[in-house]
């Protein structure tokens, strides 16, 4: 069927399969099931080939056929294609043969994977004629909506819990967005936004624009496969808040296999949560296919969603791929942040500490074999959550500008190191 919706065909309910037109709507009228974009894969197959990709720009939009916009994107053209870092030193620390870090701490422009979903949501919002965009956010999404709306000339309202890290609040305000802080946790912000979205005619990226928005996460998975030299990684560890990213990573692998872009090899997807907000991980460990909502209490505020909308599908994705979930305490999160920083020079936010901490546990328990290769999805930048580690990274050693004081401070330790270096050079 010909339409003017690019490679999209319709929106479809994930529960009952009823189809809907490609408008700003996210819920099935019959069972409240989430709507998802359906594509014309036959047409995509002839257009999206490895050869075609060779001449495309280094951004997530190189996979444009699988991203839900009708025409060429207009927002976030530079987003994505972040480094996939071969993390040899971290691999050694965690005790695994090979390890890769998909480093979205340096995504453009707001240093988190949320730029991926927002560039899709805002490009689609503009196509549908919206001039005001909004979101409910634990921080990173608010930053990204604010920045991308500014560059696209859209008006933005972002809703956040009032207790967020300073860095995340300032990173929304600077772009001139209307920042509304709600006295409550994210699930309460979410509930309010659902009600606001029903009343105001805005493009709420994670409410009425959700079917388009969520698809942007797939680009992370496509990039991993391409950067690994057209291989699906055997193990992928992904942090979970609502669980959406994990389900979209699975979908990206499935789509590339279906399109014949990559061989159909076995892969497992693992979900990482903070113990202080672990409804999905708790359910997975108990062998349940549904979760019980919780009230979050963790330093990983970007993952602090007690009622995860995609929790059910995340549980299913882990089950289907024979993966599993694990969670880590606040101390383990801080340790994970340090491990990644000290061994790879990557400063991740708390969610990254969750992913590293969980990977460490999964490798130690043998759930991920130490002879294998794994990819860790690190989704946000540590400069935004410095409050969480302030006080646990030590302090600079302070001296007067005097050689004597320096020698007294560093003494033999420094001289010995220098001597070794000179010997090595000679």
């Amino acid at each position: 069927m010909e339409n003017n919706e690019g490679f999209m065909r319709a929106l479809k309910c994930r529960e009952c399969g009823r189809e809907y037109p490609l408008t700003a709507t996210h819920v099935c009228e019959f069972d409240f099931g989430p709507l998802e974009v359906v594509y014309d894969y036959d047409r995509i197959k002839t257009s999206l080939t490895r050869e075609a990709l060779q001449s495309r720009p280094k951004s997530m939009w190189r996979f444009r056929e699988l991203l839900p916009v009708a025409n060429d994107p207009t927002v976030g053209l530079q987003v994505g294609c972040t480094p996939l870092v071969k993390a040899d030193r971290l691999a050694k620390r965690l005790g695994i043969r090979e390890l890769w870090v998909k480093n979205d701490t340096v995504n453009y422009p707001t240093l988190s994977f949320k730029d991926r979903v927002v560039s899709v949501a805002l490009s689609r919002a503009k196509e549908l004629g919206f001039t005001t965009v909004a979101c409910a956010s634990t921080g990173n999404l608010a930053n990204s909506v604010a920045a991308n709306a500014a560059s696209a000339g859209l008006k933005a309202y972002v809703f956040i819990p009032s207790d967020l890290e300073q860095g995340k609040i300032i990173n929304s305000l600077i772009y001139g967005a209307n920042v509304i802080a709600i006295k409550g946790h994210y699930d309460e912000v979410n509930r309010l936004c659902a009600e606001i979205a029903g009343k105001f005619g805005w493009a709420f990226v994670n409410v009425n624009m959700r079917p388009y928005y969520a698809e942007g996460s797939k680009s992370m998975g496509y990039e991993i496969i391409e950067q690994l030299g057209w291989k699906v990684p055997k193990h992928t560890v992904v942090c979970m808040a609502s669980g959406s990213l994990l389900t979209k990573i699975q979908k990206s692998y499935q789509e590339f296999i279906k399109l014949g872009l990559v061989a159909d090899t076995e892969y497992r997807i693992y979900g990482a949560q903070a113990t202080g907000c672990s409804p999905i991980s708790t359910a997975q460990k108990a062998g349940l296919d549904f979760f019980k909502p919780v009230k979050p209490n963790t330093i990983a505020k970007s993952l602090a969603i007690g009622t995860p909308a995609d929790g059910f599908y995340a549980l299913r994705a882990m089950k289907e791929t024979s993966g599993c979930a694990e969670d880590v305490t606040d101390d383990e999160i801080r340790e994970g942040i340090r491990l990644l920083a000290e061994s790879e020079g990557i400063f991740a936010e708390t969610a990254g500490g969750v992913t590293v901490g969980v990977a460490k546990k999964l490798i130690a328990s043998g759930k991920i074999s130490s002879n294998d290769s794994a990819v860790l999805c690190v989704t946000g930048n540590g400069l935004k959550t410095m409050d969480a580690i302030n006080g646990s990274v030590g302090h600079p050693r302070e001296i007067k500008p005097s050689l004597r004081e320096f020698e007294a401070l560093v003494g033999n330790e420094g001289k010995l190191a220098g001597q070794k270096d000179r010997e090595a050079v000679n």
Partner: protein, 91 residues
Amino acid sequence: MMKKVRIPTPLRKLTNNEEVVEVNAATIGEAITELQSRYPGIKERLVDDQGEVRRFVNVYVNEEDIRFLQNQQTPLKEGDEISIIPAIAGG
């Protein structure tokens, strides 16, 4: 003993576009039954074949998720406000 129920957009076709309707019910379960008697078809949208609230439907009484209260047995009192909200993506 009136309680307010805020009707979400996807269900307003059934309530003649009413955004807020009032019920007399003493519990959430009764409120759903009462809504059904006035707006036939609304119950099956909210609960599954086993009578459980559907997994993508969140119900709140005065801003608290009923799963933290007594689910469908959650008692209602004069002036309570009930919200019915679809699950939302992360952020």
